[in-house]
Amino acid sequence: MKAVISVVGKDTFGIIAKVSAVCAGDQVNIQDISQTVLQDYFSMIMLVDISRISVPFADFVDQMSRLGEENNLEIHAMHEDIFNAMHRI
């Protein structure tokens, strides 16, 4: 099972580190990262494996949302299937 973490906001130090730390703490394995900075605007997509996650996925979603609020970023963790359903036939 995989999930997508999206991060959008003003660029600052340590965004990837903070997101990665939460992933590591919950045994969520990062499989792919795609990241760009355009005019101080940070945007990142992270594909993660949640098959061995140590907390309910809903709690992980909440942790990511809180991390976003604390750092003035928009962070969403969503199950990969919603993107596959919408964009792949």
């Binding site: 997508v4 999206s6 499989q31 792919d32 795609s34 945007s43 997509i45 594909l47 996925f57 809903a58 979603v61 909440d62 969403h76 963790a77 969503m78 199950h79 990969e80 299937d81 919603i82 993107f83 596959n84 359903a85 919408m86 964009h87 792949r88």
Partner: protein, 450 residues
């Protein structure tokens, strides 16, 4: 890894363009609750609903959280209660209403539907008892919804029922007059009613449905309007293609949610309803879609053609995205629940007559329309008869949900998803003589298809 642009497109649809799943509705058959003791009947209905739907709200919330897609309503629909009322008194019918409402409150669902009857060809004792109880039932409950089917292409129009429903709506309005006639917002009169509709107030669990079923209604007018705006200065064929592509994506999410809910609740998947259902929120309006196609105001000349194209393109896009499509499936035009419709009605661009024309080409009918509080029973019945005739002759579902309250030009506020509506003027000329003739308008020639 999913494509980066696709990921941001999905997130943008949800965060900025109001994409949501409008409802997960669980249908529950009440046939095995039958009893000759009214108290026992109510207890069995309550126990059955509480057992089957006990995890509905939590399951909806879990899916919402994990997949990041808002699921606005969790609802239950039941077997038309008139079928349970054969040997039941009026008090018994009211007790069932209170039972259903109590179950809805305890489950935490938004609405429970099915307090209705199918009388397109005539009344049974049970349907008479039930319809007689509707005004009091809706005035004394909060989450109960009611629907009555008074016509079909196969049966014609039961004008006795049309005349009766004019009185019932009038009585509903009077009993809830101090609450903006809210009872009428929970009552809808149908032609060709679908038996698997997940949307309220018309949802019920049809006679041919399984014991329990999950039906899902999608939404997303804001997504369609944004896609049309992004399409820029193109021709109408390209607009139709844009709508189709967008409807496909929206419906795929509905299919995913329906499949997940069905698996987690261990209840068979019924249908996805492809409807574009607006809310009063800015940016979630079917009227704005029509205006983004190029109308100065919804209701101006050209509106019916634009709506016809929209309705058709939504179906064509959505039907490929779901394994089972059903319910109402098309564009909804409830006036009070659509910011653009409210504005168009308020400024006079949208009249009752134009709305009636629009219902000939969209999925439902005259929906959530406030009319003057002093509108007579006969005029209400006349409006119902016209709308039902459109459905019966065109072999489609039509419906009427009218709220007689206030005076023409007043704003009537219902709150929440029901929104607010300007009171639209109605013709003062009366069809009283025609309505009082009663009888049955015969089924049209197009009913003979065999």
């Amino acid at each position: 890894m999913p494509n980066r642009n696709d990921i941001f497109e999905t997130i943008n649809m949800i965060r900025e363009e109001c994409l949501d799943i409008r409802t997960i509705t669980m249908g529950i058959s009440l046939f095995d609750c039958q009893s000759d003791d009214e108290k026992r009947l109510c207890n069995k209905i309550y126990d059955k609903i509480m057992f089957h739907a006990r995890n509905l709200v939590q399951t909806g919330a879990d899916i919402e959280k994990e997949y990041g897609i808002p699921i606005i309503n969790k609802r239950v629909s039941v077997t038309p209660v008139s079928l349970m009322c054969g040997g039941v008194s009026r008090d018994g019918a009211l007790a069932i209403a209170r039972t259903l409402d109590k179950a809805a409150h305890e489950l935490g669902i938004n609405f429970i539907g099915g307090y209705g009857a199918l009388v397109q060809k005539g009344f049974t004792n049970g349907s008479r008892t039930l319809i007689d109880a509707i005004p009091e039932a809706l005035a004394t409950t909060e989450r109960l919804c009611s629907s009555v089917n008074v016509g079909s292409t196969k049966a014609g129009i039961n004008m006795d029922a049309v005349a009766l429903m004019g009185k019932v709506i009038r009585k509903c309005a009077d009993l809830t007059a101090n609450n903006n006639a809210i009872g009428c917002a929970k009552l809808v009169v149908f032609a060709n009613v679908p038996e698997d509709n997940p949307f309220m107030a018309g949802a019920f669990h049809g006679m041919g449905e399984p014991e329990t079923v999950i039906n899902v209604g999608v939404s997303g007018p804001g997504v369609v309007a944004s896609a049309i705006r992004r399409a820029g200065d193109c021709n109408l064929t390209e607009i139709a293609e844009t709508i189709k592509r967008t409807a496909f994506k929206i419906t795929r999410v509905g299919q995913l949610v329906a499949k997940l809910a069905s698996e987690r609740l261990n209840v068979p998947f019924g249908i996805v309803d492809l409807s574009l259902a607006p809310t009063p929120a800015v940016g979630d309006s079917v009227a704005y879609i029509l205006e983004s196609i190029g109308l100065e105001k919804c209701g101006c000349p050209g509106t019916t053609a634009a709506l016809a194209m929209l309705n058709d393109a939504v179906k064509k896009g959505g039907v490929m995205a779901s394994s089972h499509v059903g319910g109402l499936s098309g564009a909804f035009i409830p006036v009070s629940e659509d910011a653009g419709m409210i504005e168009a009605a308020r400024c006079g661009a949208l009249s009752l007559e134009k709305l009636e024309a629009m219902t000939a080409v969209c999925s439902v009918g005259l929906d959530m329309i406030a009319i003057p509080g002093d509108t007579s029973e006969a005029v209400i019945s006349g409006i119902i008869a016209d709308e039902i005739a459109i459905g019966v002759v065109n072999n489609k579902t039509t419906a009427v949900r009218l709220i007689p309250a206030g005076n023409a030009g007043d704003m009537i506020c219902f709150g929440g998803l029901l929104g607010e509506a300007p009171v639209i003027p109605v013709s003062k000329y009366s069809p009283e003589k025609m309505i009082s003739r009663c009888g049955r308008i015969p089924a049209p020639l197009q009913s003979l298809r065999n």
